[in-house]
Amino acid sequence: MRPRLRKFVLTAHVVASVGWLGAVAVFLALAVVGLTSQEAQVVRAVYLAMEPAGWFVLVPLSLASLLSGLVQSLGTKWGLFRHHWVLIKLLINVVATIVLLMYMQTLGYLADVAAQTTSSSGDLSLLRSPSPVLHAGFGMLLLLVAATLSVYKPRGMTRYGQRKQHEQRAVSQT
């Protein structure tokens, strides 16, 4: 990949990944408010806002992060399976994206309930769930690990990476 294109894809990957992390942080704050607030209108508003925020912010950012990461790794010497930290980031990204896409069903359900419930305390108990807090918390943890790996790039090549390195050096010496 040419340097200019590589920088562009790297910028896109950083923006999407950090944006995703920030969006999950906001989501976690909303989830905590939804779980703890005593104001019925606030609780309903939180669960109503979560679904569009998920579809229009979280899902696009997660897919952009995954796609730009794939392009960045496959288009450079880093490769996708050569370094442990790249491989672990890929796993984190894929798992987080799959869980997010599955969890959008739950958010849709919660939004439906929020739209249909009245403001009584009995109805609110249907909405209050620790599930969004847990999902957002685990998501943040995973994305923080991924961000840390990106910055520190800890050493360590996979067996595949070592084999490829051997092959390349053998070719360059002949």
Binding site: Q105, Y109, V113, K153, P154, R155, Q162
Partner: protein, 78 residues
């Protein structure tokens, strides 16, 4: 240097001088940090499994797939 660095950004990333790969021919297993991360991930997965089991299996999007669930939780309108 006689050969290109194993880490593509080694030339420009002046803030980190540790980016040197194991010597040629090294067949060492996964580094310690990978093992530590793996153990932490395993503990986390076990924790989630325990949570799922103790939660009575009511977790997950599958529980919302039935239309009767939504209908059952919808309060009657006046």
């Amino acid at each position: 240097m006689a050969h290109s660095p194993p880490y593509p950004d080694s030339y420009r990333d002046t803030g980190d001088d540790r980016e040197v790969e194991p010597a040629l021919g090294s067949t060492a297993g996964a580094p310690r940090w990978v093992k530590v991360l793996g153990i932490m991930a395993l503990v986390l997965v076990l924790l989630v499994v325990v949570l799922l089991l103790t939660g009575g299996g009511t977790h997950g999007p599958g529980r919302h797939m039935s239309s009767s669930d939504v209908g059952g939780q919808t309060p009657p309108r006046a």
